[in-house]
């Protein structure tokens, strides 16, 4: 259940970066996450926690894309990183 704490930290990072880049919360459509092999994060639990946090908020369009690194040597095995945010700019209405 520590995934809820992790999802909360992900959301804070997304809010911070979206705000700094003048991106509307509703334009964030995906968040790329990279998890080390021994990061002790259960993916479905993280997905559920994130969904629970963003539901009925301006970030509700955002989905998590989790990329797990199974190779123990490839990166820090405990690493948990927000890699990128996908933004779908809304069309300007005339």
């Amino acid at each position: 259940m520590h995934e809820l704490s992790i999802a909360n930290e992900i959301l804070k990072i997304v809010q911070e970066h979206a705000s700094a880049a003048n991106v509307k919360a509703s334009d964030v459509t995906a968040v790329g996450i990279r998890l080390g092999a021994w990061s002790c994060v259960q993916e479905q639990s993280l997905q559920n926690s994130f969904r629970w946090l963003v539901d009925q908020t301006p970030f509700e369009s955002a989905r998590l894309e989790i990329h797990r690194i199974d190779e123990v040597q490839e990166m820090e095995v405990q690493e948990m990183i927000v890699e990128w945010i996908e933004i779908q700019d809304q069309k300007e209405e005339n």
Binding site: M1, H2, S5, I6, E9, I10, K12, I13, V14, H17, A18, A21, V23, T29, A30, G32, I33, W38, S39, C40, V77, Q78, E79, M80, I81, V82, E83, W84, I85, E86, I87, Q88, D89, K91
Partner: protein, 225 residues
Amino acid sequence: MEPRILQVRTKILKANDTLARKMRQEFLSRGIFVSNWVSSPGSGKTLWLENTLRQLIDRGLQVAAIVGDLETDRDAQRLERSGACVRQIMTHGLCHLEADMIRKEWEAWDIGPIDYLFIENVGNLVCPTSWDLGESLRVGLLSVTEGEDKPLKYPGLFNTCDVALLTKMDLAQACEFDQVLAIENLQAVRPGIEVFETSGKTLEGMDLWIDWLENRRKISLLSNP
């Protein structure tokens, strides 16, 4: 319109890690050696910690402990029997301690100069793994009743530990515990880890442990004047 990508590349627990790093520097600058004890529930953390506190007090050192549990202050009461100052954090369901929880407890604590601060984490072999609490030493405990394969089943947690204690060694024979295999398994997930064989009942391993701990504290303080 095509979606665009905003590169972020930020550690998810950056806020916790930044705070923990600051706390570690602050603790060391005050001459306080902090250790974070992690294990499954019932591994013998509290008994071994109680004995450790008592031994250090007998050597004239000032010690304190913060203990985390979901509910009750039973462990704090047990640790207080040693004569140490103890604070209990009740997480009310949260499965791990975070740096900010330790900071809040520490800042609210009217305590004099101390040499050691021990943090007994919530008993759990998964969730505490990722949270740095500002410690200089992470201690992992593995009791003989849990079996030799626990490090292989929970590599994430044991990989983060600086030292491992095999506990309840007085029960090893009854449990047909293979300590050679247990140590091999620990080394497989955390090469080079120091391992102590201990018993909270008989105090086997206590003198070696206390000497090692004292050595680590002195080295740590010398490296961070």
